[in-house]
């Protein structure tokens, strides 16, 4: 399993990377942690002629929490996300999710930017970003723009990112309340058979003041479940409302048959996982 030949570039700033990307065009690929791209290149399913490695860009590696806003540089690794107590205070769902991604070695290398940007429906962070209502900062030849995570994903491996853009930062508001990321998988290192991200806030009176639900690997994009979320927010969290919310979310999913099982199984498992994830988030709210 040997990749094709390529030229290697290691820019030290975002503008430098963008210039390379513009100059080299279609023949170039940006590499972050490389744990999706390198295996694909080894299978020769991807044969870029130029590889633009972002690891030398220090400004893309940071976690900043201030004034209730969280900013994470795209090159921040899963291990760094897990290790940040500051981030855990601001958004504990990130650590809970990152710990369920791949294995220790992959988490040292795998980055949040790579995870959210490459559009693989199996990746876990995209649904979490939708759940957090995060915004992705994209820099390109025409400057900077931001796209909501809930608007970013178009189809498997197709996103709102233009080929000449680099996803540089993720922003979201620090969250309070209950959280949970529930994932069924075959083993450590596997993608989800079904997974759910849930954030719930409980008011002093026990009502549900905010709810957000998103799902992983149950369609060709992550799924933000707006109706299910607002159902919980409007009706409070009870076994009945959970059942209705789950039923609503299930209307959105379109799982496909694969080695993890047929679609009918995934539909059933997804409902179970979402139910238990909502329950856990509420218990923590």
């Amino acid at each position: 399993m040997i990749t094709g030949n390529f030229e290697y570039h290691q820019p030290s700033s975002v503008p430098e990377a963008l210039a390379l990307l513009s100059d080299l065009g279609d023949e170039a690929r940006v590499i972050a942690g490389g744990h999706s791209l390198i295996p694909t290149m080894k299978l020769r399913l991807a044969m870029p002629e130029h590889l633009i490695d972002l690891q030398g860009i220090k400004e893309l590696k940071n976690i900043d929490v201030s004034n209730g806003e969280v900013r994470i540089g795209a090159m921040t690794t899963q291990a760094e996300l897990i290790g940040s107590d500051e981030l855990f205070q601001a958004a504990p769902i990130i650590r809970e999710t990152a710990l369920q991604i791949a294995d220790p070695q992959v988490r040292y290398m795998g980055t949040i930017g790579g995870n959210v940007a490459n559009g693989d429906p199996g990746n876990d962070m995209p649904a979490v970003m939708q759940c957090l209502d995060a915004t992705f900062l994209l820099q390109g030849p025409d400057g900077e723009r931001s796209v909501a995570a809930r608007e970013f994903y178009e189809a498997a491996y197709f996103t709102a990112r233009d080929e000449l853009e680099i996803l540089t930062e993720i922003r979201f508001s620090a969250c309070e309340g209950g959280y949970s990321y529930g994932k069924q998988k075959r083993k450590i290192g596997d993608y989800a058979t079904a997974a759910a991200a849930v954030l719930l806030t409980k008011g002093a009176d026990g009502s549900c003041t905010a709810a957000s639900i998103a799902l992983t690997n149950l369609a060709d994009t992550p799924l933000y479940c707006a109706d299910a979320s607002s159902h919980l927010q409007s009706n409070g969290v009870s076994e009945d409302s959970i059942a209705s919310a789950v039923a609503s979310a299930m209307e959105q999913i379109e799982p496909v048959d694969d080695n993890r099982g047929p679609a009918e199984f995934k539909k059933h498992a997804a409902a179970i996982i979402l139910t238990s994830t909502i329950r856990q988030a509420w218990a923590r709210a």
Binding site: I2, G189, F265
Partner: protein, 806 residues
């Protein structure tokens, strides 16, 4: 008196012989990264070979254009079948009496089949060149279902033998049919089935899987044209057989071939056979005059070398109403893929599948196995198993459960009622084996007691009630298994591979200063032979195991042997070691008698020395005797102290065990969790308890993998669906439970030290235990049998079919 006794004990302990949990001598190099595996071999000017493989499962090869590849700088040659044909190496014999294409000869028969072999200066250039070889195919209809192989519209796969009415194992009834193998009493069994009060019937499928050792297969061939010598390093579980095969294939005289198995990163049956990569590396070295390395990658390993199992076992078991088994019938459809590339002894085309009467006294039985060709990878190897014993054990241990359900009887009680009793050994089975020894009831009762079987059943019944009441979504399964293995192939009168009798060997040299070197015909792949064989010898010759070096795997130095697989090392080579040790001792006795100036019969062996009877102060230690053998002229005795033994075992050995697994199963997600696993093994005399326990842990984990998810699956076009470790299930430390091990010790009566072999028992017994736990969990809801692997979705589907999802 007590002081003397203590001294004897101390001396015995110092030997680190039989029964000692001696630390492994191999580990110093392995823990420091200083193992020497085949891919670590680096020779001057070494080239690298890589395969162009077929993406189609069945296609005619119209043309192969190698010009673009040849034009790439660094490419030395590209071999195709046309290049091998003049050497008659485009096909090769399999160990099962069939033949296999080395490189595609006119057509391809499975996805991943070897089509051309690129030889280049390094593995990077070779990979680039592989992409540049243009192969034109004409796709043909694909056969993946063995039950459709003989339908009128089935494509004919093996055109080379389409008209052959006779195969290596008798008559063939169809071009896609390989053999029919029958054992036992067909009319007798059918008569019992028609008359018996109770008959249970089930189709038991043991799915296709793969040994998947951590190290893939590979070789380095180096043809020294000056001296006419070929050296071949490789991942060989049977290096001496490889040498013989290489000689027969290449025409190079056997004394001019040296085969070396360096350290091997796990074998589990994957490394018994001869693969096209080995042959191509040899040819490439002969053609180029340079050393050539070939190492497959993981996808190549899973998709082309050595699958295992794929047995459809249709069973019928007859019994009285109170559960006494009267007869057993089994018809197996064996999917061999494109070539029958099993590595079974010649007379056993379905291996030892006829051990399928298991641990039970079954008076009448019949077994038939039909081998079938399909468009899948070739093989049918024994994956951590003695030639289809895993399939046999799974079959009978499922059939017992199915019968228990039919009888509405407790499955533990049904087993106990039908076990071969201790006093029946040696026991003649209905399918032709003589079980050497056993004490099944003792082991079984110990196991049931250890897990608190009665209480577990009570808890399970309560849980069923809770489930029915809607208070839980989890069920509890109790997986029982009592297996009997047949290992240590085997007696030369019955067992050969390519005509080579399945003896094994040991050669011992005692050095003047009293340390020793022993060489064997086997080869360790992690079993710790350098540790355990030294222990056998230490006890036999009274030299500390620490002073004995064990060497294996170099055919220029080691005595001929059939290698390591089928748990045969301890039963056969271990016996040869003991016997060679006894020859040393016999000569030592003569020398000692001379030195002590007494008659041979006046001295006796005591731990590490010969002592004059009645005069314990007069003795000669083995060390002194060894020195004397090199330094003194002893009348009537040749100088030196060496011995060789080639051991032809009189019978197989029959290790057995009682395993119990307790599993908790989530009915909604299909996720299962092993709560407890108890494994009692009886492998006869225990050489090194630490290593035995390690073997059991490892074998059980492989069993867990197979039972719970590990499979080689194909789609209807013959595309492999599980070709990487993402989808081919190997549990990590996280999914693997802790195991509780235990033992009884029933020595083999015919083995020199009573040992039986253990490496494969946990895989043989583990799979039915895990599978029975899953099946058992649903018994209360009407399930009789559900197929492996029991991954999440299949367990869910089972529950779904039973209506457990409301």
């Amino acid at each position: 008196m007590s002081a003397t006794a203590e001294t004897v004990q101390d001396r015995k302990a110092a030997l680190k012989g039989l029964g000692t949990s001696r630390k492994r001598v191999e580990d110093a190099r392995f823990t420091q990264g200083k193992g020497n595996y085949v891919d670590d071999i680096k020779l001057p000017d070494m080239l690298f070979g890589d395969f162009v493989r077929s993406q189609h499962a069945h296609a005619r090869v119209i043309s192969i254009d190698t010009s673009a590849a040849m034009a790439l700088p660094g490419v030395v040659a590209v071999l195709t079948a046309a290049d091998l044909e003049p050497l008659n190496l485009h096909w090769m014999p399999t160990l099962a009496g069939d033949k296999q294409m080395v490189l595609a000869d006119g057509k391809v028969l499975f996805q991943g089949q070897e089509v051309a072999f690129v030889i280049a200066e390094d593995r990077y250039i070779a990979a680039d060149a592989v992409d540049l070889v243009q192969v034109k195919y004409e796709e043909l209809p694909v056969l993946v279902d063995p039950f459709k192989a003989e339908l009128p519209d089935a494509p004919i796969l093996r055109e080379d033998i389409a008209d052959a009415k006779e195969g290596a194992h008798g008559a063939r009834r169809h071009p896609n049919h390989i053999f029919t193998w029958e054992q036992g009493d067909k009319p007798g069994t059918e008569a019992i089935l028609s008359e018996a009060p109770v008959v249970a019937e089930e189709m038991v499928y043991y799915h296709r899987t793969h040994p998947c050792p951590m190290e893939t297969c590979g070789s380095v061939a180096s043809m020294d044209k000056v001296n006419g010598k070929l050296t071949l390093w490789g991942t060989f579980q049977a290096p001496h057989v490889v040498r013989t095969v290489a000689s027969l294939l290449s025409g190079i005289a056997e004394h001019n071939i040296r085969v070396v198995s360096p350290d091997i990163g796990g074998g589990f049956g994957n490394k018994v056979g001869v693969y096209p990569g080995y042959v191509c590396s040899i040819v490439a070295s002969i053609v180029t005059g340079k050393p050539v390395k070939w190492v497959e990658d993981r996808m190549e390993n899973l998709s082309s070398t050595a699958f295992a199992r794929d047995y459809w076992m249709n069973g019928k078991i007859a019994a009285t109403e109170d559960g006494k088994i009267l007869g057993l019938w089994c018809h197996t459809t064996a999917d061999h893929g494109a070539f029958d590339a099993c590595a079974d002894p010649t007379k056993y085309p379905a291996g030892f599948m006829n051990i399928c009467t298991g641990s039970y006294d079954i008076p009448t039985a019949y077994l038939a196995v039909d081998g079938i060709y399909t468009n899948k990878a070739p093989g049918g190897v024994a994956y951590r198993c003695s030639f289809r014993v895993t399939e046999a054990a799974y079959f009978i241990e499922r059939m017992i459960e199915v019968l228990a359900i039919k009888l509405n009887m407790d499955a533990a009680e049904l087993r106990a009622k039908n076990f071969i009793r201790k006093e029946q050994f040696p026991y003649q089975s209905a399918l032709g084996w003589e079980y050497d020894s056993g004490d099944y009831h003792t082991a079984w009762n110990k196991a049931l007691e250890a897990v608190g079987y009665k209480e577990l059943r009570e808890e399970q019944a309560k849980q069923v009630e809770e489930f029915k009441a809607g208070n839980t979504r989890k069920l509890m399964g109790i997986g029982l298994c009592h297996f009997t293995e047949i290992v240590g192939a085997g007696p030369v009168k019955n067992c050969d591979i390519l005509g080579m009798g399945m003896f094994d060997s040991c050669e011992i040299r005692i050095h003047p200063t009293g340390s020793a070197l022993a060489r064997l015909g086997t080869i360790s792949q992690g079993q710790g032979h350098a540790t355990t064989f030294a222990q056998i010898l230490a006890t036999e010759i009274g030299i500390s195991a620490d002073d004995i070096t064990i060497e294996e795997g170099d055919t220029d130095t080691a005595p001929y042997g059939l290698g390591t697989y089928g748990s045969r090392s301890t039963p056969v080579a271990g016996a040869a070691t003991a016997m060679a040790g006894r020859k040393i001792r016999a000569k030592a006795q003569m020398i000692a008698a001379y030195l002590l100036e007494v008659h041979d019969n006046d001295i006796e062996w005591e731990v590490d020395r010969f002592v004059v009877k009645g005069a314990p102060e007069r003795f000669k230690t083995m060390k002194e005797i060894a020195f004397a053998s090199y330094t003194q002229a002893i009348p009537g005795v040749e100088p030196g102290l060496e011995a060789v033994s080639y051991y032809d075992p009189p019978n197989m050995t029959y290790p057995f065990g009682a395993y119990i697994c307790v599993m908790d199963i989530d009915v909604d997600t299909g996720v299962s969790d092993v709560r407890k696993f108890y494994a009692l093994d009886d492998c006869g005399t225990r050489i090194n308890p630490m290593i035995i326990e390690g073997q059991v842990h490892g074998g059980l984990t492989e069993a867990l993998a197979i039972a719970m998810g590990q499979e080689i699956a194909y789609d209807e076009l013959g595309n492999i669906k599980t070709g990487t470790l993402m989808d081919f299930f190997i549990p990590t430390s996280w999914e693997t439970p802790n195991y509780q091990t235990d033992f009884t010790e029933t020595p083999s009566p015919h083995h020199p030290i009573g040992a039986k072999g253990v490496g494969e028992s946990p895989n043989v017994g583990g799979v039915p235990a895990f599978s029975n736990a899953i099946n058992d969990a649903f018994r209360a809801f009407g399930l009789t049998h559900t197929h492996m692997p029991h991954d999440h979705w299949r367990v869910w589907k089972t529950a779904n079919k039973l209506g457990l999802h409301g």
